[in-house]
């Protein structure tokens, strides 16, 4: 074999290896999805799974309606807090991003995204639960909102920065004040990107368990008042039931995991679709 042929054979070997490793990287995704679907489908295929709350062990027909309602309330409240504030913060970074303070905000947001979520749970426990003298849905929502905020800030900034300066200048030339230019021209123009960020944050919050452990704690009953009640959440259900020695509850944990995966991956795929539209639109501007 000539030297050149040997070199190209070595190169081919490594290229193949890289593709094999890439394939290996995607194997766990397939396995997780496969087992979640096959083990989760039997419990999920009963309608009671969605309409009934927890039933004591041995009583058939138990479901996760309490967790579905709880997750909707927890994530809904967290979104109400985090999304408007996050959009404002993102607009600040994109529109006034040269300010020195903006660099610190960016760094802090990125660090906050990587902060262990269990520490956020401890923080909200000290801040809210200790003061209210009770675990509550609102404490869980605040913990989730802290998780969501930096995601919304950074994705909004990215989306707003894509909007060409001409749009800002036209607005200002018409005599619009700065806030109306930002909120009524720029943010709507960047809406798909902003929505993507909000959706990603919602997906992330829906799947988080650790920040809820010391804040909303969980509940076997169907409760809906976030101010006075502990609320159950889907990820909490998976976590608590999976560690029980009862087959019935373990099956329900798989069912809840399937619902959670469908929810989270559904939101993610939807946000990707929205983002692709944004990129196409930005190309037309």
């Amino acid at each position: 074999m000539t030297r050149a042929a040997a070199r190209s054979a070595v190169s081919g070997f490594w290229l193949l290896l890289m593709y094999v490793l890439t394939f290996i990287a995607l194997v766990p995704l397939g396995l997780v999805l496969w087992f979640t679907v096959t083990r989760g489908l039997p419990p999920v295929s009963h309608l009671e799974f969605f309409t009934n709350p927890f039933h004591p062990i041995g009583v058939p027909g138990g479901g996760v309606s309490h967790a579905l309602a709880g997750t909707a309330i927890l994530v809904g409240l967290a979104s109400l807090m985090a999304i408007p504030l996050g959009i404002l913060g993102g607009v600040y970074l994109a529109e006034y991003g040269i300010a020195r303070w903006a660099a610190w905000v960016r760094l802090a947001s990125d660090v906050l995204v990587g902060t262990p979520s269990i520490a956020i749970g401890l923080f909200v426990y000290a801040l809210i639960v200790l003061r209210m003298h009770r675990f509550s849905g609102i404490a869980g929502s605040i913990a989730l909102a802290i998780l969501m905020l930096p995601i919304v800030i950074r994705t909004t900034e990215g989306a707003v920065a894509l909007i060409p300066n001409g749009l800002r200048e036209s607005g200002l030339a018409l005599g619009l004040p700065r806030w109306r230019v930002s909120l009524q021209l720029i943010v709507p123009a960047a809406a798909p990107g902003v929505i993507t960020g909000a959706l990603l944050a919602v997906a992330r919050a829906s799947g988080e368990t650790a920040p809820l452990l010391f804040t909303t704690l969980g509940n076997n009953l169907f409760k809906v008042n976030p101010l006075s009640d502990q609320l159950q959440a889907l990820p909490l259900t998976v976590y608590q039931y999976a560690l029980q020695p009862y087959k019935d509850l373990q099956d329900q944990a798989w069912g809840a995991a399937l619902v959670l995966v469908v929810l989270v991956l559904g939101i993610n795929l939807a946000s990707r679709w929205v983002l692709r539209r944004q990129i196409r639109l930005a190309g037309q501007l």
Binding site: S8, V10, S11, W14, L17, M18, L21, T22, A25, L26, L29, L31, V32, G86, L88, G89, V91, Y92, L93, E95, Y96, G97, I98, A99, W101, W104, V105, D110, V111, L112, G114, T115, P116, I118, L122, A126, I146, L149, P150, I153, R168, L172, P177, R178, W179, S182, A203, G207, E208, T209, A210, F214, L217, Y239, A242, A253, A257, L260, V264, N268
Partner: protein, 316 residues
């Protein structure tokens, strides 16, 4: 106002009232650093009883006994650090390979599928990895990896005494979970390597592998290092999946196939049941150790990654 005028070329700043919108938006943005600071200070305050009582000895103590109020963090620190590093050792080669494949040109369709797959890997909730690892992965790796290895390597202490829930199982699931972080950032820094470098190498007759291994990866080295540190931070702080498979034994394990414990897992398991003054404070101090370590790692890695993308913008 001078700054705002600079931010927006062509905008005149004469005779304008102070920009109240800017103030409001600035306050909203400042929530991020404020919360970060507040988390650290609150944990410091909550951990104060334990810090005062144990001093620096807390970090090297190996005892964890709520009955005698004797707490030391070393086994949890050991479990956290070792699980994270084993996970990195597994995930890093795979992650860089995926990043190299994704950063290549052409075959957009295939790359699109791989990229989507990796992003979905990042989207799957921790607790779903946990239940999968607990019921599917850990029993399988016990039978097909841990048992055979320990039977063949009977004289190697750190590969002995296999157990279903173990440091190794936790590391394996962590490796899967940090892979998307590694891939996403490595791909971006590899793409940020100036095209000219690659074209020069090819023009000189280098093969694909020689170009990748000797030109592109060295040029992207610092960025991949930053990605590694960020992934390390994620691995250190991961809670739920690890808690479900690491076995939760408060000891420094003699073998990677034995149960261990991590900082985050101890907190997750014990905080709601902790009573008295010292026990919860000791748990919060574990959280404080965790958050300080991840804070330092994240800030360092982010500054590194950001400085690289800024440099590449200058040279591109």
């Amino acid at each position: 106002m001078a700054v705002a005028a600079k931010a927006l070329p062509g905008k005149q700043s004469f005779n304008r009232p102070p920009d109240r919108f800017r103030t409001v938006a600035g306050v909203a943005a400042s929530l991020a650093p404020a919360i970060l600071l507040l988390i650290t200070l609150t944990l410091l305050q909550q951990a104060a009883p334990a810090i005062r009582h144990f001093g620096i000895g807390f970090l090297v103590g190996t005892d964890w006994n709520p009955v005698t109020d004797s707490f030391g963090a070393l086994p949890a620190i050991f479990g956290t650090v070792s699980s994270a590093f084993i996970a990195l050792a597994i995930a890093l080669p795979v992650g860089v390979a995926v990043a190299v494949v994704l950063a290549e040109q052409g075959q957009a369709r295939l790359r699109g599928i791989i990229g989507t797959g990796v992003e979905l890997l990042a989207a799957i909730p921790s607790v779903v990895y946990g239940i999968w690892a607990l019921y599917v992965m850990a029993p399988w790796t016990f039978l097909h990896i841990e048992l055979p290895i320990s039977q063949h390597a009977t004289t190697v202490g750190w590969l002995s005494l296999p157990s279903v829930r173990s440091l190794f199982s936790a590391s394996l699931v962590l490796a899967v979970m940090i892979l998307p972080t590694l891939v996403a950032i490595s791909r971006d820094v590899i793409r940020a390597v100036p095209r000219g470098l690659k074209e020069n190498a090819i023009a000189l007759g280098a093969t694909w592998w020689e170009t990748t291994w000797k030109i592109i990866l060295p040029a992207a080295r610092n960025g991949i290092f930053g990605a590694t540190i960020l992934a390390l931070g994620r691995a250190l702080g991961e809670t739920i999946a690890v808690t479900m498979v690491i076995g939760n034994r408060y000891e420094i394990p003699h073998s990677i196939f034995q149960p261990a414990y991590t900082l985050a897992s101890v907190i997750a398991n014990e905080f709601n049941e902790s009573t008295g003054a010292l026990y919860p404070a000791a748990l919060v101090e574990l959280g404080l150790v965790l958050i300080l370590v991840t804070l330092v790692l994240n800030v360092g890695a982010l500054l590194l990654v950001h400085s690289i993308s800024r440099d590449s913008r200058l040279t591109a």
